[in-house]
Amino acid sequence: MPAGPGMTILEGLQYIREHLDATLAWRFSCRMGICGSCAVVINGRSGLACNTQILDISDSEIRLEPLANFPVIRDLVPDLGSMFDKHVRLRPYLIRADQDEIDASLGEFEQSPEQLLEFNQFSYCIKCGACMSACPTMAQDAAFFGPMPLTAAHRYNSDSRDQGFAERGRALDTGHAAAHCHYAGECSRVCPKGVDPGRAIQLMKRSLVMELLRLRKSADRTRLIEPPVAQNVDDESLRPPPFTAKHT
C-alpha cells in the first residue's frame, strides 16, 4: 500500500479497510494519542497506531498484531476487560475518611507544587494497555496486576489528599502485585505518553516496605482551605481596555 510523509499506521489501517479488506477490525477514537484506543503491537513493540508514522519505521515490512497478554475479540481488537477489572480492584480514585466532606464539599484541599510532582507524571496514563502487552511478568502470570493498575494505585497512594493507602494495600496483598514485578522495564519503554510505570512500581515497593517498617509518612498530608472568592477589580489600571470594533 502507498505511504507518504506524515501517514500514520492508523491511516494505513483505514486505507486497508477502504481499498484492500473491508472486514479488517481495529479500535480507534480520537486519532491524536489521547484516548489510547488504537494500541497495537507494531513490529513486536506495543504502541499507538495513531502516533506512529509509517515512514518512521525503518523495517521494510510492517507487521501489526493485537496487544499481547489479552484475549483477542477480532483482528486487532483485544478484550481489555481483565485490565480494567484489576484497575477497579485497586481503587483508582481519592479515598477520604471524612465522609461529611465527601458528601458536601466544604472547601478545597491544599496541595503544594512539590506534592503535585509526586504523582503528576503517573496521572498522564491513558489506559491504552501498551505496557500490559509489553510486560513479561504478565505473559507468565495472568493474575499479575500489571503496570497500568499498579501505576494507577501508586498515583493515588502518592496523592497528598488521599487516605486510602491501607485499603489499597489490602487489595494489593495477593502475591501477584508489586512484589512480583521483575522490573524488566519494558512497560516504561513502550508507554506512548512517557509515563514510567516501572518507576511507579519500584516507588510503590518502597512505600509498602516503609509502611511495613512503620516508617512511612502519614497519609493525610493536606488540609482543607477556603475556596477562592471572586474579587471586584477596583484598580482602573488592571481593567482590560474597552473593545472597539474596527470596520474597514
Binding site: 511478568t137 507468565q140 512484589a179
Partner: protein
C-alpha cells in the same frame, strides 16, 4: 502486606549473602589478598583452622545465618518461578507450602550438621 514482607526479607537475605559469602570468598579463596590486608597468618584451609572455625560460636552463628539467608533467598526465587508457571490458586498455594516445608527441613538438617560439628 505479607507479599511485601517476603519481598523485603528476600532483599535482606540477598544482602546477608553478599556480605557473608563475600567474606567467605575473600578468606578462603582469595587468602593471599585477604592476608595482604589482615597480615600474614596460617593457611585458612589447614585442618586445624577448619576445626577452630567450627568450634567458634561467632562462626557457628554466621554459618546458620548464611544457611537461613541462602535457603530463604533460593526458595523465594523457586516459589516465584513455579507460581508463574502454574495456573490455579490451589496449585500456587501448594507450591508455597512445599517451599516452606522443604526450606525448613533443609534448614534444620543444615543447622544440626553445623551444631554437631561445633562440638566435635
Amino acid at each position: 502486606m505479607r507479599s511485601m514482607l517476603f519481598w523485603f526479607l528476600n532483599i535482606v537475605a540477598a544482602l546477608v549473602i553478599l556480605v557473608l559469602l563475600g567474606l567467605h570468598l575473600a578468606e578462603m579463596h582469595l587468602s593471599a589478598l585477604w592476608q595482604y590486608f589482615t597480615g600474614a597468618g596460617p593457611n585458612p584451609l589447614d585442618w586445624e583452622q577448619v576445626v577452630a572455625r567450627g568450634n567458634s560460636t561467632t562462626m557457628l552463628a554466621s554459618y546458620i545465618l548464611l544457611l537461613g539467608a541462602a535457603l530463604f533467598h533460593g526458595f523465594y526465587g523457586v516459589h516465584n518461578i513455579l507460581v508463574e508457571a502454574l495456573d490455579g490458586a490451589k496449585a500456587q498455594r501448594a507450591v508455597g507450602v512445599l517451599c516452606w516445608v522443604a526450606g525448613l527441613a533443609l534448614f534444620l538438617v543444615g543447622t544440626f550438621v553445623t551444631v554437631a560439628f561445633n562440638g566435635a
